[in-house]
């Protein structure tokens, strides 16, 4: 090794290209093989993760159907692996064992303390309320922001009232997070003291998503009633 270092030898470019080419071929094969072998398991995992999240917020649901709510006010089923058209909002309809609509679930997102807090909330058309929510992803401070999962007073804010206004264009009362202990209305979220920013993010995420989605879903509820 040392004798080579004293007399610097240059490797011909052809040798470098040969080595890198050979290596790229080997590595490409390994990656493609790994992708092919794990593809089914990964897709299955993703499906189970979505199902589990929806079943958590709609406990009565036994099966789910993915829908997209189009800007034109229509709803259509998203096929397996299908993409949502531009401007459409994705939501899940949960059906009970008898195939009746048990609830609707959709994702919402809002800026929290550390990063965007992504949540999934349920909507119960029978009572026009939001009975529960769960967190899809968050990077809030452990022990402080993540209290939104366990704090009793905060979780007691649910169900939240989510009635639409008379013209079906928006919610009659916007869902809003209020200071800890000052919740008086059924559409208010009781903030956690010390985790106000994260609490507000949950309220805002639900409000933004519900304001956009529910006016599109409400006229189509009859179509969603039975599992198609």
């Amino acid at each position: 090794m040392n004798s080579e270092a004293i007399l610097p030898q240059t490797t011909p470019a052809a040798a470098m290209i040969r080595t890198l080419g050979l290596l790229s071929a080997i590595c490409g094969l390994i990656i493609v093989a790994a992708y092919q072998l794990t593809y089914d398991a990964v897709q299955e995992n993703k499906r189970i993760a979505v199902e589990r999240a929806v079943f958590k917020v709609i406990p009565a649901a036994k099966s789910i159907v993915e829908y997209s709510a189009l800007p034109t006010g229509e709803v259509e089923v998203i096929g397996a692996g299908g993409a949502t058209p531009p401007g459409a909002l994705k939501f899940y309809a949960g059906y009970d064992a008898a195939g009746r609509l048990a609830g609707i679930a959709a994702e919402g997102a809002a800026k929290g303390y550390a990063d965007t807090v992504r949540i999934l909330f349920a909507y119960d058309p029978a009572t026009s309320s939001i009975p529960a929510y769960s967190v899809v992803a968050m990077r809030e401070t452990p022990g402080i922001g993540d209290k939104i999962l366990v704090d009793k007073d905060f979780l007691a804010s649910f169900p939240l009232e989510a009635k639409l206004s008379a013209d079906l264009k928006a919610l009659a009362n916007a869902i809003i997070t209020v200071k800890h202990g000052s919740k008086t209305k059924p559409w208010e979220v009781d903030a956690i003291s010390g985790a106000t920013i994260t609490s507000r993010a949950v309220g805002k995420a639900i409000n933004d998503a519900a304001q956009a989605l529910l006016p599109r879903v409400a006229p189509n509820l009859d179509k969603l009633k039975e599992k198609s």
Binding site: T10, T11, A15, M16, T19, L20, L22, L23, S24, I26, C27, I30, I31, A34, Y35, L37, T38, A41, V42, N45, K46, A49, A137, T141, P142, G143, I144
Partner: protein, 216 residues
């Protein structure tokens, strides 16, 4: 294989223990601190990160060692990175297939194994100069050593910061978690304490050695 079997395995054992103990990547070389501090908030995270890194280490050192006569020195770093990145991609898919929750918990740190200096360091310093068996044994030792290092941090931080071990609650509902231990400063506290412990061990060993030579 002309050597006696006993001698061969002793050499292998030596090569293996190099990374596990004498040159432990976390506690002796203090390498790869980024994942060490960031993902060790729980035992499960630490274990899976350690195993993922060990897998990438062994596979890439094996391939680097196999190709060592073919790799021109001008492009060796590029070659190592391509090889390492390949196995990181494989690990990335495998973890997604095993558990999405784990994949989310480890986040970007799986992809960042590519630039983990332990792996590049092993490829450059050891695998490029040794036959595949020796290179993979050494890499396995380093991987196990790294996993032990991560587990040492992860278990302590999980016990103190969440009151559980591998997700099993240890102290019941009345336990008030020491939250700072699962926050970034806790990583530095626990790592510092472990380094202190190993430095004290090392110093004691040297004192004993000095006494022994004086007596002789």
């Amino acid at each position: 294989m002309s050597q006696p079997a006993g001698k061969m395995s002793a050499r292998n054992w030596d090569e293996f223990m190099e990374g596990v103990w004498r040159q432990n990547p976390v506690f002796v070389m203090v390498l790869g601190m980024c994942p060490t501090l960031a993902v060790t908030v729980s035992g499960v995270n630490a274990l899976s990160m350690g195993l993922a890194t060990a897998f990438v280490l062994v596979c890439s050192c094996g391939l680097v060692s196999l190709l060592r006569k073919l790799i021109p020195k001008e492009v060796r770093i590029a070659t190592y990175i391509v090889i390492i990145a390949t196995f990181v991609t494989v690990v990335d898919y495998v973890i997604q297939a095993v558990s999405l929750a784990l994949y989310d918990a480890l986040g970007a740190f799986i992809q960042l194994i590519v630039v983990n200096c332990i792996i590049l360091g092993r490829a450059e310093a050891h695998a490029s100069k040794n036959p595949p068996m020796a290179a993979m044994t050494n890499a396995l030792g380093m991987g196990v050593g790294f996993t032990i290092g991560l587990l040492a941090l992860g278990t302590v931080r999980e016990i103190l910061g969440a009151g559980s071990l591998f997700g099993v609650s240890l102290f019941g509902a009345d336990f008030q978690p020491w939250v700072i231990m699962v926050l970034p400063p806790g990583g530095f506290f626990v790592l510092g304490t472990w380094l202190l412990f190993f430095a004290a061990l090392e110093r004691r060993k040297q004192r004993k050695l000095a006494e022994a030579t004086q007596n002789a």
